[in-house]
């Protein structure tokens, strides 16, 4: 879960909250009223639980009357914020923009309807597809430690490593030089060693998640937004 402000949590807890979103394509911002549609999809596995997966999230966005042409592999970023009128306020309160993914255009289709409205339909994928090339150069001494390998791969992909990755990678596995393997295959191998999977976060960072890291189920009383309800400072379990 991404870190959010108290304001965000407060606004989100309001029953009358709503969302605003925007898409930034190659530096040009398009608000929700400039978009026909916007959706994302990601799937770690499709059936039985698996480890060693490296899924890539997909974006589908249709832009109304774009005012420009977009270059190849244009960067597309999605942001969302929550809005509501807080109790006692008359003004609409807006939270910070929460990133919802960083993508790169893969296909672009432009159509124009009879009314002359242009629709630019873009399909894109996140940076995980940038790991689809051979591990053809390295500055590491091999055999190398898994955390160093992940850092080097992230650098080659042009992304940062989410710091929570290192909370999972505690066993310090060593790998020989992976001749003939792609960066993505090596990420998968390392993820399998930790019974997990690598994803690109909504902030565009490389993150290792383990299926064993799921928080244990609790029966605490919580608010709408998940804050525990306490009684005299003590959480109430039901």
């Amino acid at each position: 879960m991404q870190q959010t402000s108290a304001l965000y949590k407060q606004i989100l807890s309001q029953l009358n909250h709503s969302f605003e979103f925007k898409v930034v394509v190659d530096g040009t911002t398009y608000l929700s009223d400039q978009l026909f549609s916007l959706s994302t999809d990601v799937s770690v596995f499709n059936r039985t639980p698996e480890v060693g997966k490296t899924p890539s999230q997909k974006i589908s966005v249709a832009i109304r009357n774009p005012d420009r042409d977009f270059p190849r592999m244009a960067e597309i970023s999605i942001y969302v914020r929550v809005a509501a009128t807080l109790p006692g306020d008359t003004q609409l309160s807006l939270s910070e923009w929460i990133p919802q993914g960083v993508f790169y255009s893969d296909t672009k289709t432009t159509t124009k309807n009879n009314a002359g409205i242009t629709r630019c339909y873009i399909i894109g994928f996140d940076a995980m597809l940038k790991a689809e090339h051979d591990y053809d150069s390295t500055s590491l001494d091999w055999p190398a430690v898994d955390t160093d390998i992940v850092a080097e791969i992230a650098s080659k992909m042009g992304v940062l490593v989410d710091s929570r990755t290192y909370d999972v990678m505690t066993d310090q596995y060593k790998l020989p030089l992976p001749v003939g393997y792609s960066l993505r295959e090596i990420l998968g191998i390392l993820a399998s060693k930790y019974l997990g999977f690598f994803v690109i976060t909504d902030e565009g960072k490389l993150l290792l998640q383990s299926i064993l890291s799921l928080p244990k189920e609790t029966r605490y009383l919580v608010t709408e937004v998940g804050n525990a309800i306490t009684f005299g400072g003590i959480r109430i379990e039901v």
Partner: protein, 375 residues
């Protein structure tokens, strides 16, 4: 990871029974090697890791102990935008991890989320697409073909090695036969023939062996014509020329102190003997044991004893007779005897240029030396 409390902020939800706990880990190292840890009492987790180890599998099985996967599906969830893949989600009926997410951006931000599960039948009889099965078949066919080819290659190598050994043996045998087959004859010995045997080579002419070459050398029975060459070695043997045979002395009347020359100009031995084509002999010493013919007259060694009354005559010397000796004197070698008396001869040149010899008995002292005659 965090837990997203959805409560009833959703369109629909579907929960499936929790999976049975994992009891086995299988690591596929490659197509032929896998590591298995655990038993078949529960669910098996399989994955591919070419660098996987037994210790890794055992540690993972220990970590998986007690873990149970909870599959679910939630449609139209009003999901907190800050929720991430891998976070847990809880409703009144469901608690599980978000491993699949489809978000539709709008004012409500709805999402379909799930922890996927397989159908019971598909779990037992896992579906593979046509492409997967065809690829798997082709891989197996290639592997089988490679195995067959490698076996054939190994068999072929073994056969060629055996054949090579056999060929070596045959060559060894045939080399002996070749050696034996060298024993051939040809031609006709009555006119001209040849014979090549294992120990000699012979040439025949008119039924006569005229040349024989063996391990000991060459024998020639017949005419040898040579205008040059050597007998022995070039440095110390005899040199053959068209007119001479020599060693050391390369010509007649040569000045070399040592050597021999036999040629058309004469025969010479160093500087101590030579005879030319005219019969002129020069020698440092001569020892005669037979008859010496001087001017047609034979003079034997015993003849030196006679001297008739003139003593002895040598060559063409005239005899001057001043005294007569009734006794015979003969000389042999350098000793002159008369009966049992030994006389020491003196050979000297007379002042008149005549050669003379005088005898003096050893037993008579002070005898006047007179000459007996000239020679």
């Amino acid at each position: 990871m965090a837990t997203i409390k959805l409560s009833d902020k959703l369109q629909s939800q579907k929960a499936s029974p929790q999976f049975e706990p994992f009891s086995k880990i299988v690591i596929h190292v490659n197509n032929d090697t896998k590591i298995e840890v655990g038993d078949d009492t529960g669910r098996t987790l399989e994955y591919t890791d070419p660098f996987g180890t037994q210790a890794q599998a055992e540690a993972q099985l220990a970590k998986l102990s007690g873990f149970q996967y909870s599959p679910f599906e939630i449609a139209g969830a009003l999901l907190d935008p800050s929720a991430e893949i891998g976070d847990a989600v809880s409703t009144k009926e469901i608690y599980g991890g978000i491993y699949k997410r489809s978000r539709s951006f709008g004012q409500l931000m709805k999402a379909n989320i799930s922890a996927p599960y397989d159908e019971e039948v598909n779990h037992e009889y896992s579906y593979k697409s046509y492409s997967e099965r065809r690829y798997s078949r082709e891989i197996n066919d290639v592997k089988a073909s490679i195995l067959i080819q490698s076996d054939r290659i190994a068999a072929e190598v073994e056969a060629r090695e055996a054949q090579g050994a056999s060929m070596l043996a045959q060559l060894s045998l045939q080399s002996t036969e070749v050696s034996a087959k060298v024993s051939q004859t040809g031609g006709d010995n009555s006119s001209f023939g040849w014979s090549l045997l294992s120990d000699k080579f012979s040439l025949y002419a008119n039924n006569r062996e005229v040349l024989k070459a063996t391990s000991e050398g060459l024998e020639i029975n017949g005419t040898i014509k040579a205008s040059s060459g050597y007998i022995g070695s070039e440095s110390s043997g005899f040199t053959i020329t068209a007119s001479a045979l020599y060693n050391g002395l390369s010509q007649f009347n040569g000045s070399q102190a040592r050597g021999i020359y036999i040629g058309t100009n004469g025969i010479q031995l160093g500087q101590n003997f030579k005879v030319d084509t005219s019969g002129n002999v020069s020698a440092a010493n001569i020892t005669l044991s037979g008859i010496l013919n001087v001017g047609g007259q034979n003079i034997a060694a015993e003849t030196l004893r006679s001297g008739a009354s003139y003593g002895y005559s040598f060559g063409n010397a005239t005899t001057e007779n001043t005294e007569k000796y009734p006794e015979f004197f003969y000389c042999r070698d350098i000793i002159c005897k008369r009966n049992l008396e030994i006389f020491q001869p003196y050979f000297f040149i007379h002042s008149a240029g005549k050669r003379a010899v005088s005898l003096r008995t050893k037993t008579i002292a002070g005898q006047t030396i007179t000459y007996l005659g000239t020679f």
